[in-house]
């Protein structure tokens, strides 16, 4: 439904179609279909609207952090993976998540919130274990032996994408902004399906 609106947006170049879930900017209409790549590629034209709660903000901040780590992992995998299927998945993740980062940062800017997690959120950390992927583990992907790279990457990135699903579920349960929730649903779906692909790639 919402997705269809967004698709129609490209066709009809009618920014107001997004009005149901957010406030489309008058001054930033989507470019005509046939223009240059760089001009078309602008997800930040999707605006989130002014209604949001703390969970929306936390979700975006956590996911931006997750995606920035993911970019590093995917970059390494694009270079080091042996099988083209693994490299292609890494590259596709890289380009789609780069847009997602742009989108989320523009929403946080729209809400006048920082793109980084704040102290209040991090206070919860002492109750739990370590996040699945720390800087050390991500860096280790660059040095692990080539023969073991795909196994190491897939297991680490599986955990990473499972984490993104958990963030998305939090947003779906407790978020307030409709567009952010619909984005969370997309995140949940895409990562769940990436998990399927990666598990199959691991099984050989």
């Amino acid at each position: 439904m919402k997705r269809r609106h967004v698709a129609a947006l490209i066709v009809a170049a009618a920014p107001m179609l997004l009005g149901a879930c957010g406030t489309a900017r008058d001054d930033a209409p989507p470019p005509p279909a046939a223009v240059q790549t760089q001009n078309v590629k602008n997800v930040s034209e999707i605006t989130a609207g002014s209604t949001f709660n703390d969970t929306d903000v936390m979700f975006l901040q956590m996911l931006i952090d997750n995606l920035e780590q993911g970019q590093e992992m995917a970059q390494t995998a694009a270079k080091r993976a042996t099988r083209p299927e693994v490299a292609d998945l890494a590259k596709a993740v890289q380009v789609t998540q780069a847009d997602e980062i742009k989108l989320m940062k523009s929403w946080l800017a729209e809400w006048d919130k920082p793109a980084e997690l704040d102290e209040r959120v991090s206070l919860h950390a002492d109750h739990g274990g370590m996040p699945s992927t720390g800087d050390k583990e991500i860096a280790s992907l660059k040095t692990v032996k080539k023969a073991q790279f795909e196994t190491a990457f897939l297991n680490l990135f599986l955990a990473h994408q499972h984490n993104a699903v958990e963030f998305a579920q939090l947003e779906l349960d407790k978020g307030g902004n409709e567009l952010a929730k619909s984005f969370a649903e997309r995140v949940k779906q895409s990562r769940t399906d990436q998990v399927q692909q990666m598990l199959k790639l691991l099984a050989g």
């Binding site: 129609a8 952090d65 780069a98 190491a152 955990a159 579920q169 399906d193």
Partner: protein, 269 residues
């Protein structure tokens, strides 16, 4: 480094466990990804009718001491069901078990059981495990199809994580290599007769070999976008009446359909 951020795992854990109707605080999470455990086969979509575990394979968490595949968690009873079409991975005299850890926690031991007996124990001395964990387990005294119960005993909670991994020992004499080169003889394990409660979100994975067939550019051109297809750069699809050109080779999945959200993959024509 720049990352001073910690994750509110307690919060997230509560969310995850509310999905599972599990009552325990979920502080750590993990499962065996390869050889694929039963929950990994569920999450991969290789086995249908798995119930809730397919969405959170990392959550088969229960008090220590169980010998059941689900650890005794009623919500994950499918894991105990030996009549589901679990694929047994061919292994040699040993097998390397790889874990996905979605939240790491202090670890007492990792224990592997066959026929109710512990056959290998790895003691972590209450340390926080590395991000990816693997153990090579000697299976030479067994042969044929066995179900290995792999248990992650958490160090500072009474909980453990349970996985059953079906293996066929001596199936090909792979010698315990981490990447078994065995062809997926069990093709689509999805039972054809049963109607899964969840809609089959994945189209059957179309042959990955399609990437090498140059002629396949023709059939891909102008077809309606579909999930589960290996698209190559310059493939053209239609979606909601609009044509798009593929900009980055990928295997299509849900929410990667051509739209303003996925301009990095699909260029509107």
């Amino acid at each position: 480094m720049r990352r001073k951020i910690a994750y509110p795992l307690a919060t997230l854990g509560m969310v995850a466990s509310s999905l599972a109707v599990a009552s325990s605080p979920a502080m750590a999470h993990g499962y065996v990804s390869s050889p694929p455990s039963r929950q990994a086969q569920c999450a991969a979509g290789s086995v249908a009718n798995c119930g809730a575990i397919q969405f959170e394979p990392q959550s088969a968490e229960a008090p220590k001491g169980s010998k059941e595949c689900n650890g005794g968690v009623a919500a994950f009873s499918e894991l105990n069901n030996n009549s589901l079409p679990w694929k047994a991975t061919n292994v040699g005299k040993s097998a390397t078990f790889n874990w996905v850890l979605t939240a790491r926690h202090r670890t007492a031991t990792w224990v592997y059981y066959v026929d109710g007996n512990a056959i290998a124990t790895f003691n972590d001395n209450n340390q926080i495990p590395a991000a990816s964990v693997s153990h090579t387990v000697d299976l030479s005294r067994f042969s044929g199809r066995k179900t290995v119960l792999a248990v992650w005993n958490i160090g500072d909670t009474p909980m453990a994580f349970y996985n059953c991994v079906d293996v066929n020992i001596g199936g090909t004499g792979g010698g315990g290599s981490t990447t078994p080169t065995t062809p997926p003889t069990t093709a689509p394990t999805r039972p054809p007769a049963t109607t899964p409660t969840t809609p089959p979100t994945k189209a059957p994975t179309t042959a990955p070999t399609a990437t090498t067939a140059p002629t396949s550019t023709v059939p891909a051109t102008g077809k309606e976008w579909a999930p589960g297809v290996a698209y190559k750069i310059n493939d053209v699809v239609t979606y909601n009446g609009v044509s798009y050109k593929c900009r980055q080779a990928h295997q299509s999945i849900r929410s990667w359909e051509p739209s303003i959200w996925t301009l990095a993959l699909w260029l509107p024509l």
